[in-house]
């Protein structure tokens, strides 16, 4: 059974509990009015009232149909006991009306939504009506009001139950629609985000440019910075609009497995630094087949290293050497600049831990720094081959 239907039944049983217990209590109180019934009938009626309340409780907590049928049976017994008595006090008549139209009718709501529920409810109501009529005939009392209340009560609760069921069905369909639409939205939006995240190299240059802007472009000419900003803005716009990208920037979006992917990507990094005033000389392999993630991590880490050289080394030249054996690809970033004491500098300060080590670790690689004051710096980046 579907969850929403369980919830619906729970709600219907709650309505039954409110109605049924209100009715049972009401009828019980009516019977307590002096003169409402003679002693033996009173005792039976009291016992039946308690039974009805108990059965209602069982039905509304467990949802047992047998208990619901028991409620109706006990109500019939109550009607026959009190209705067939020689004297029908107004209080007793009220108790009967409440029993017929409220207490017993309360089970109509949860029963009507079951399979063949409408038929079941009609049959139960008919049994009750027949027993009221029988009592009236036996004792010659006018029980029109009891009959009327019973019919109205059963119909009203049946209608409420059926329409609640109907409302739940419609809500269920609409919730399903919204859920499916939302799932489509999620897929689309996550795909888009994935594309954005995958455009890691693009984001690296954007990050570098933004950092330069934040530091008022120290060490870079205004024109170069403006050109770089223009290029980055154009690429971001293309990424946003999903425009097919021209050849030069293709590599920046990490495409599949172009043979010259590596050299193109490295070339774009090189050009970026040339513009910023750092001349990067490239040595070694330009033809490497690496999984996209690994390549992105390597190129990203490389860019960060070069940015550190540009900012801190005090020289305008750096060398990048790529070598590989059957297990590993190594990239060495070397400068002949100021150098530093690796132990004396907190790696976190350079953004090194996060942007270099973190990235490489994520693909199973590692980074090592060799430097001492006055004799330049070498950073060795390693990533595993597939």
């Amino acid at each position: 059974m579907k969850r929403i239907h369980k919830e619906r039944d729970r709600l219907l049983r709650r309505l039954t509990r409110i109605t049924g217990l209100a009715g049972a209590t009401g009828a019980f109180l009516c019977l307590l009015v002096p003169g409402a019934a003679t002693a033996p009938e009173f005792a039976i009626a009291m016992a039946l009232s308690v039974v009805v309340a108990g059965l209602l409780f069982v039905h509304t907590t467990r949802g047992s149909v047998a208990a619901a049928l028991g409620v109706v049976a006990a109500s019939v017994a109550l009607v026959l006991t009190l209705g067939a008595a020689p004297v029908l006090d107004p209080a007793t008549a009220t108790a009967l009306a409440v029993t017929g139209g409220v207490t017993s009718a309360s089970v109509a709501a949860p029963l009507v939504v079951r399979r063949r529920g409408v038929l079941l409810v009609i049959v139960l109501a008919a049994i009750l009506v027949a027993s009221i009529a029988a009592a009236a005939v036996m004792s010659h009392h006018s029980m029109t009001e009891v009959l009327l209340t019973t019919v109205v009560g059963w119909t009203v609760l049946g209608v409420l139950g059926a329409w609640l069921d109907n409302g739940v069905l419609i809500a269920e369909a609409r919730i399903g629609e919204v859920g499916r639409a939302h799932e489509a939205e999620r897929i689309a939006s996550e795909l888009e985000a994935q594309q954005r995240q995958d455009a890691r190299v693009l984001h690296d240059t954007v990050l570098a440019t933004l950092s330069l802007l934040a530091h008022s472009g120290v060490g870079v000419s205004a024109n170069a910075l403006r050109d770089q900003a223009g290029d980055d803005a154009r690429l971001l716009r293309q990424l946003r609009l999903g425009v097919p990208l021209d050849n030069g920037s293709n590599a920046i979006f990490s495409p599949g497995s172009d043979d010259d992917l590596l050299s193109t990507t490295f070339e774009s990094v090189r050009q970026r630094f040339v513009r910023m005033g750092l001349d990067v000389s490239w040595h070694g392999a330009g033809q490497l087949v690496l999984p996209r993630e690994t390549l992105d991590a390597l190129v990203g880490a490389l860019g960060e290293c070069l940015e550190n050289v540009r900012r801190h080394s005090g020289v305008t030249e750096a060398d990048v050497t790529i070598t590989d054996d059957e297990h590993t690809v190594r990239a060495m970033v070397t400068d002949a600049g100021d150098g530093f004491e690796p132990d004396a500098v907190d790696p976190a300060r350079l953004g090194y831990a996060e942007s270099v080590v973190g990235r490489l670790n994520a693909v199973g690689g590692r980074a090592r720094v060799f430097s001492s004051p006055g004799s330049g710096t070498t950073v060795m980046l390693e990533v595993p081959k597939p």
Partner: protein
Amino acid sequence: MSTRSPKIATTIGEHSFLRPARSATAASNIRSSHGGRRLAIGATIAAGLLVLGHLARAVLMAPYFPPGLGPWPGWLALLAVVAVGCIGWQVFRGMPDWFYVLLLAGLIAPVWLDLQATSGLAAIGVTPTAAPAIGAVLMPVSTIRSRTLPIAVACGVAVALLADAVMQVGTAGSAVVPLLALAGGAVLPVVLTVAMLSGFSRLVRHEADLSLVQSTVGTARSAVGMRASEELAKLDFDAETLLEDVAAGRIGLPLSDDDAARAGELAAGLRVRLIEGRNDTWLKHAVAESQYLSGRVQVDDPTGLAGPLSAAQREGLLLALWLLVADPAKPSAVPASVIVGCRELDEAGLDDVEVDADDLHVATSVGITIEVDGVIHRRVDPATWDAVANVGVHQVVSAASGFRIEITCRIEPEALAPGQRHPAGRPIEEKSHG
């Protein structure tokens, strides 16, 4: 990025950035439709039946009235109020506050006329008919406006009937009991309708929330999450705008302090989005996106171990969490806090698990602990345990003020489906089919 300058914030009008908002609106439309039009129709039909019942009683009693107008002035007044209400509904295309209050106040007329006509007649079995019918009339009313006011009005009618009964108890004796029953009968339909409406909208709210959150079940193992996607898109757009302004010379170089600070903020935001949060899984997103789970459930899964759970396991876990927290029907069963923790199980401890020499090193089982504080495990919805059973083998440990569910989840190798990412970030090679 709450400190983004207002200028940039206003430029983000692109529809693509409002994506999750659309489904949120759609969901709240179902929610706020106030129990649905179907329910209003049902309540109206039921109300009509009840009114007919009272009318039938009026017809039956009419011969016993003293000569005069009988029970009809009250009924005519009631009819007038209902008619004015229906016409006003059409004219104003809705229900302005003043009109609504005026109509409810107008109900004093039928009550007063009806009680006048039947006063002192309880002894011969004549009771008010139009006044208790007001309870029925209020049923559809409670579907369109506030739910407390109709109950208050129905209670007012009931009080009037009770007062009438008290005044006649000396002459009529036990014949005033039907009056008391009628007083109850005036309140019960409204209470029932209100209970039905609030229960229904609670049900719809819950189901809608669950269905929205369940879309996380089908995502890849380290998904970005809708919120993060939107943030990333916004950051990209802000960066684009700033860079374009710099390139076009709209912002001069070197940058002013404000602009430089903005560039720094954007860079920091992008860095966070791109580098951190890559271990966030569907579980974190589901909790963040749910109206009920967020703020009540804490996820402690720094390495993204919940990622490789299968769709069925995810659904079970989500449903279990959801059943644990989202049940205001029983206020005593709402826990004070729920913490979900994921940890890698010691594989040596699992004797029958064959550890593959898999260089990917994928955990074959994950331990999930749900710590619930502030509710004892017997008070929890039994459906929770079925849901937990779908996640894996579990055991419940009772604690001082709550309990702990410890689940051992087997990770099926199929969980490494094509296109999904390895927890370490490496893509899984696509399997070739056929």
